[in-house]
């Protein structure tokens, strides 16, 4: 006999199942207490009950977002490690050693426009489901844009174009760039479009801006990114959607009833958006775990790197170095002015967590992965002449950049390894010329795997077509103000944060060149060279 799984999303009374068959005791996401997943061997009674429930559900349009909150709740638990006993890495000495003026030649080239980053800002990055929970994505993007306007004093009609990057789209605001720009009070004569390229979406927004300026189409462009994971589109199943759409077209009561009658149990399970590759159906965390294993990255290495990220982020936050963060008065809530995911913890606490994806022998845990984050960023990009003409003091030059792509199964997160040597070659620089490294930290295991790949002769020869290894970035120049693991990773917004952070670190540490590198779903990657603007 077939066994049917019934989801009691509709709060089916517990005893109802008890009469029918075996029950599995886990909490209902809605009413907390009755059974969620129940196995019943007699489907007929359930059908009758579910038909009724389903119809009510369709009518009431139950808020599925509750579902997600629960998942996020789980995540938070993993992170609620206490702050006590954090390993304090003394950074002051390192920082001071870095601050020294360098005089390397500039990357300016004749006939190529100098394009500059005038300013970059971001909303505080918050754990999904916290203070931002009731907003919509364009609200966050609008906050970032308003912050940028506020900080730069830019006239609201002085930009030529606005580009935003985002990954998971809110269906109501699919061109979120336009909605945010209108709401932020920008002139309605400024066109805006939205781009998507997974975790490097706002990098794509920025380089699109660079392209527009370089081509002479525009002089000043606002580029940014937004991601809102507190609410994501959760859909009815395909079969259910089909039935519902047919229901619209049904003319007679008879047709409607027969359509409702065609609904089966399986149609009722909702489709959750997964952070999984479409081509391989593998979740990113699973792929990261395999990648870490492929490069022999141990659990301890990953936990240490995660602790480092949180510790450095905490120090940077406390020292007021994260100048790109703007305060944001959330409607109905308090003013938010700090990232809330930074939680340094002890190695012992880190070690207690169970693997999140590959069980039981995996190494990637909730605490050494980046967490689901809400946030938005924005940057003002101009040609150098325009910036100077408007009286701005630019922060940095945006120089060469590359996009790379590779096997989405076994090398999903190796973008930085492919991008770094390529962009250095384009810029005519070597690893040692770079003073500031900002790599996107999707997973601690992913960062360590990229480090090992860059440091491997075999990998360099076999996959990068080089004679020897590229060499790994030195840790004393690497992500010194924390990274995506600790600050948070709103997919579409991270790229702008990386570039702005490089600009700020170059100013603070007195370096000349910075390198941004990031991986993205789909097995893609990005790298960019940034040059300090003479101070």
């Amino acid at each position: 006999m077939e066994t049917y799984y019934v989801s009691s999303l509709w709060c089916v009374p517990r005893h109802f199942f008890d009469q029918l068959g075996e029950t599995d005791q886990s909490n209902c996401l809605f009413c907390r207490g009755s059974a969620v997943w129940s196995r019943v061997s007699e489907p007929l009674h359930i059908y009758i009950y579910i038909f009724v429930c389903c119809y009510i559900n369709v009518l009431l349009n139950i808020e599925y977002s509750l579902f997600l909150n629960d998942i996020i709740e789980d995540d938070k638990e993993c992170f609620s490690l206490s702050v006590s006993g954090a390993r304090s890495l003394s950074m002051t000495a390192q920082l001071q050693a870095q601050v020294q003026t360098k005089s390397k030649k500039t990357l300016a080239r004749p006939g190529v426009k100098n394009i500059v980053l005038v300013e970059g800002v971001r909303t505080p990055f918050l754990l999904s489901g916290t203070t931002y929970a009731d907003l919509m994505p364009h609200d966050l993007a609008r906050a970032a844009l308003q912050g940028l306007l506020h900080r730069t004093g830019l006239p609201k009609d002085a930009v030529d174009y606005i580009i935003y990057g985002t990954v998971i789209q809110e269906v109501k605001t699919s061109n979120v760039a336009r909605e945010a720009a209108l709401g932020a009070g920008f002139s309605d004569k400024i066109p805006a479009h939205t781009v998507t390229m997974a975790c490097i979406s706002s990098n794509q927004a920025m380089t699109s801006a660079v392209g527009l300026i370089a081509a002479g189409q525009c002089d000043s462009v606002v580029a940014g990114g937004v991601e809102f994971m507190s609410d994501v589109p959760i859909r009815h199943s395909r079969k259910m959607r089909k039935t519902m759409l047919s229901l619209n077209r049904a003319k007679t009561l008879g047709q409607r009833l027969s359509l409702i009658g065609s609904i089966r149990l399986a149609h009722l399970s909702p489709e959750l958006p997964a952070v999984a590759e479409f081509s391989t159906a593998e979740t990113m965390g699973h792929s990261a775990d395999r990648l870490a294993a492929a490069f022999g990255v141990s659990r301890i290495e990953q936990d240490e790197f995660a602790v480092r990220s949180h510790t450095l982020a905490k120090q940077a936050q406390d020292a007021g170095l994260l100048q790109d963060v703007i305060s944001f008065k959330v409607p109905g809530r308090d003013i938010v002015s700090k990232d809330n995911g930074i939680r340094p913890s002890s190695m012992e606490q880190m070690g207690k967590l169970k693997p999140a994806f590959v069980k039981p022998h995996g190494t990637v845990t909730a605490a050494n992965s980046s967490f689901l984050t809400d946030g938005a960023s924005a940057a003002l990009i101009m040609s150098e002449e325009k910036a100077l003409a408007m009286g701005y003091k630019p922060k940095a030059y945006l120089r060469d950049f590359v996009y790379v792509s590779q096997d989405p199964k076994d090398q999903l997160l190796l973008g930085p390894t492919y991008g770094t040597p390529k962009v250095l070659e384009r810029a005519g620089l070597t690893m040692s010329d770079i003073d500031v490294f900002e790599f996107h930290e999707a997973f601690a295991g992913q960062i360590m795997a990229n480090m090992k790949a860059l440091d491997s002769d075999w990998f360099g020869q076999t996959y990068l077509g080089r004679k020897s290894k590229v060499g790994a970035p030195p840790m004393e120049k690497f992500n010194l103000w924390g990274g995506s693991l600790s600050l948070g990773h709103p997919f579409g917004a991270t790229g702008c944060r990386l570039v702005t952070t490089v600009a700020h670190r170059l100013q603070k540490e007195g370096g000349q060149y910075g390198l941004v590198a990031a991986c993205a779903a789909g097995g893609q990657g990005h790298a960019m060279v940034i040059e300090a603007y003479p101070q």
């Binding site: 075996e22 479409f278 081509s279 391989t280 159906a281 699973h286 775990d289 395999r290 990648l291 294993a293 492929a294 490069f295 022999g296 590959v358 039981p360 022998h361 096997d407 199964k409 076994d410 090398q411 795997a449 090992k452 790949a453 491997s456 075999w458 990998f459 076999t462 996959y463």
Partner: protein, 778 residues
């Protein structure tokens, strides 16, 4: 005829556990291309190397866990050879004697396989059943030591773990397997006419339950890692890794080892439990299986099924059930004894001999004996998007070749495209393929109405209608476009290749490639050369066939080539038997009880009586008419009346939707009555009727060898079993002659000859063998 003949045939094969399916398993043996990972062996601090020079098994200590590595340096795959066994036991004794060792991991240093089974040579070299029983007893005792090991042994499985390999693994305390696409567990012994004789029939039922165990052993099917985990055959799975700072395969094995070492430590520290708490369903199943009455019912059902499918012609399945039953009903001791005795008995049966012969033959026919082609063939162009054309396209793109499928109407190319898509999509539904892989595979196929892209094709295969004029027309059209290196292959079923080549400007580039329908399921490819075909053309055609995963026989040009020529004899005799009033149903059941997967009458209906008539016409012309109304006349008479077989709903049988039980078409019977002849009583017993069909087939096969159409008896046997449905347990016509004795066959044929004349005259080669009993084909 044969181009389409086997559609039905194959399905029957599947059910029948015939060796056809072994193709999948054994192809792995032949095509394993991984070099051995010598790194492992050299790096390991082989504790034992100073004591004895061990070559097959080494071990090293990782903390308090001994990692034992299997690596047969003389072969591409590990098998349970005498050498490997004795070294493994010696290593184990050392480890057991070492009090510091708390656990052990058993792993292979070869990337593609853990342990692919017992060494077939041991079985073949056994002179008596007692010797084979002794072998089984000895290994059983060794594996008992594994089972009772004082320290936990973890089997770390990557790649093939079959037969004796699986039996070794299930004697261990814990099993971890990689989720690799190449990881398979299974007991394929039944396909060789044997049973799992190293404790498998005793341990498997306890491990996975009686129904699953019987299913595994009776079908010999390969179990994927995921399935094995669900069944409880393995405890834990490990994902295959991508490349890191060393190649993917190498790192995956290392990773597997690391995880296994961790588990071995965990078991020793009692952190990893050896038994999982059973779910309610499992508990329920155990309770049910505890009832003697239920088990009895299962044995009965299994035996009935086996009887129905094998017609009692294959002894192995019966012995498997018997061994399992003895173990469960009369205790383990009796079970092991029964297993080893049955194993011994089976090794000396002619069925096992024939099936093992087929296995070896298949391995031979999966190699290119004609050298490397000058230019690697990558791009195919196929003319005709019918069942055959699309089938050829399908097996090509599925194996990474690119293919153009050309036809003359939009309708036909659309249908062809759909055929390829559907077959891949079925794999997606069965989760053998992801939808993404399907899309990428489909992107290698282009369907079109014109000849664009043909200029860069490496080989053109035509599958257009069987009309010499059409063949000539397309050949000329194609030759005007293709590059000089491009080969022209014809998928004709009867037209002589030299006649087709006559229209060619480059006859050295013309060759025959005769696929069998359905192309994706039938493993055989018959390649036909003319006197003018160049060696490189042949080498290229074979390399294409091998890429498509085919078992290949190479024959010389002749009407009907080899397979169809032999089948024609069967068909012709079947028609005569019908004229003599044998009755279609009776005749079919006579031949299936002889071991054919499908009777000749049903086969004709499946193929289509019009097509059969067409083939008969061609071959009758070529070989002359033998007395009375020829098969051709009767078949065309039937098809002209609209009885074209299954496709028209009426043939010699009636085909109605919804009913499996088909009845004889009364109108067809009327027509047959028109041609009725008296059955000579001297040669019309059931057994005589079977032998009349079989002897003509066998004699024709031997004649093909005599005439040099066939290159050797091995290919003749492979072609007959995989292309014509010759009973696999006879191993093919040549092995059939060997085991039956040519003299006996000749004397039977002489009896028929007395009545019917020269169609039963044995060929010279057969007579030679009859005169000199020392002459054998194998």
């Amino acid at each position: 005829m044969c181009a389409r003949c086997a559609e039905h045939l194959f399905e029957e094969f599947q059910v029948e556990m015939a060796v056809v399916r072994a193709a999948g398993v054994f192809s792995k043996f032949a095509t394993n291309k991984y070099p051995s990972l010598s790194g492992h062996a050299s790096r390991s601090l082989s504790v034992s190397s100073s004591l004895t020079a061990r070559t097959h098994v080494s071990y090293e200590l990782k903390d308090d866990v001994a990692v034992i590595r299997l690596n047969d340096p003389t072969a591409k795959v590990n098998t349970l050879t005498w050498q490997l066994q004795s070294e493994l036991m010696a290593v184990m004794e050392e480890i057991w004697a070492n009090g510091a060792v708390k656990g052990a991991v058993l792993i292979s240093s070869k990337p593609g396989n853990f342990l692919a089974g017992a060494d077939i040579k041991i079985i073949q070299s056994a002179n008596s059943s007692e010797e084979a029983t002794g072998f089984s007893r000895q290994v059983q005792k060794q594996l008992e030591k594994f089972e009772k090991s004082p320290i936990p042994i973890v089997a770390a499985i990557h790649g093939l773990c079959l037969g004796g390999g699986l039996e070794l693994a299930i004697a261990c305390q814990y099993r971890i397997a990689t989720k690799s696409k190449n990881t398979f567990l299974g007991t394929p012994e039944v396909k060789l006419g044997l049973l799992p004789g190293l404790g498998g029939t005793q341990r498997l039922p306890k491990l996975v339950g009686l129904p699953e165990a019987l299913d595994m052993m009776l079908t010999g099917r390969n179990i994927s890692a995921d399935r094995a985990k669900k069944m409880g055959l393995v405890h834990q799975l490990v994902d295959p890794l991508g490349p890191g700072t060393k190649p993917a395969e190498e790192r995956t094995i290392e990773y597997l080892e690391e995880v296994a070492v961790g588990v071995a430590k965990g078991i020793a520290n009692k952190q990893v439990p050896l038994t999982k708490e059973k779910s309610l369903m499992q508990k329920l199943q155990d309770t049910v299986m505890g009832l003697g009455q239920v088990r009895k019912m299962i044995y009965k059902t299994a035996s009935e099924k086996v009887q129905k499918q094998t017609k009692g012609l294959y002894p192995a399945p019966v012995k498997i059930i018997e061994s399992v039953k003895t173990g469960l009903e009369h205790g383990t001791k009796a079970g092991y004894l029964a297993e080893s005795e049955n194993f011994g008995k089976l090794t000396v049966t002619s069925e096992a001999n024939a099936l093992i012969g087929l296995y070896h033959g298949q391995v031979t026919c999966k190699k290119n004996h004609f050298g490397t082609p000058e230019k690697d063939v990558k791009r195919l162009a196929i003319l005709g998007a019918g069942l055959m054309g699309a089938g050829i396209a399908q097996v090509s793109v599925h194996k990474g070749l690119t293919a153009i499928l050309k036809d003359t109407t939009e309708e036909s190319i659309s249908r062809g495209h759909e055929q390829v898509y559907k077959s891949l999509n079925t794999k997606v539904k069965k989760r053998a393929l992801t939808s993404f892989e399907r899309d990428v595979t489909m992107s290698n196929l282009s369907v079109q109405l014109d000849y664009s892209g043909f200029q860069s094709a490496d080989i053109v295969i035509e599958a257009v209608s069987e009309d010499i004029n059409i063949k000539h027309k397309v050949l000329k059209e194609v030759e005007a476009i293709i590059s000089p290196h491009c080969i022209f292959a014809s998928n004709t079923s009867t037209l002589p290749i030299k006649d087709i080549a006559a229209a060619s400007k480059h006859p050295e580039k013309v060759i025959g490639m005769h696929y069998f329908s359905p192309v994706d399921k039938m493993p055989l490819l018959e390649i036909i050369t003319t006197d003018e075909t160049s060696k490189d053309t042949l080498a290229s055609a074979v390399s294409v066939g091998l890429k498509q995963g085919k078992v290949i026989i190479v024959v010389r040009d002749s009407p009907g080539f080899y397979a169809n020529r032999c089948i024609f004899q069967t068909m012709a005799e079947a028609i005569i038997l019908l004229q003599e009033g044998a009755g279609p149903k009776k005749l079919d059941s006579l031949m299936t009880s002889f071991g054919y997967p499908i009777g000749p009458v049903s086969l004709s209906d499946e193929v289509g009586l019009d097509i059969a008539a067409h083939v008969a016409e061609n071959l009758t012309k070529a070989f002359g008419v033998e007395g009375g109304h020829s098969a051709h006349t009767i078949l065309s008479d039937l098809s002209e009346r609209g009885f074209k077989g299954r496709k028209s709903g009426k043939g010699i049988y009636l085909y109605e939707d919804g009913t499996k039980d088909r009845s004889v078409n009364p109108e067809a019977e009327e027509i047959l009555k028109k041609y009725k002849v008296a059955a000579p009583p001297a040669v019309s017993s059931d057994s005589d009727r079977q032998y009349r069909v079989v002897s003509r087939f066998v004699n024709e096969a031997v004649l093909c060898l005599q005439e040099g159409i066939l290159r050797n008896p091995v290919e003749g046997d492979i072609g007959a079993v995989f292309g014509c449905g010759f009973p696999p347990f006879h191993g093919g016509p040549f092995r059939f002659v060997d085991s039956m004795g040519a003299e006996r066959l000749v004397s039977i044929m002489r009896r028929f000859e007395d009545v019917y004349g020269n169609r039963f005259t044995p060929c010279q080669l057969l007579l030679d063998h009859a005169q000199d009993p020392s002459k054998k084909f194998h």
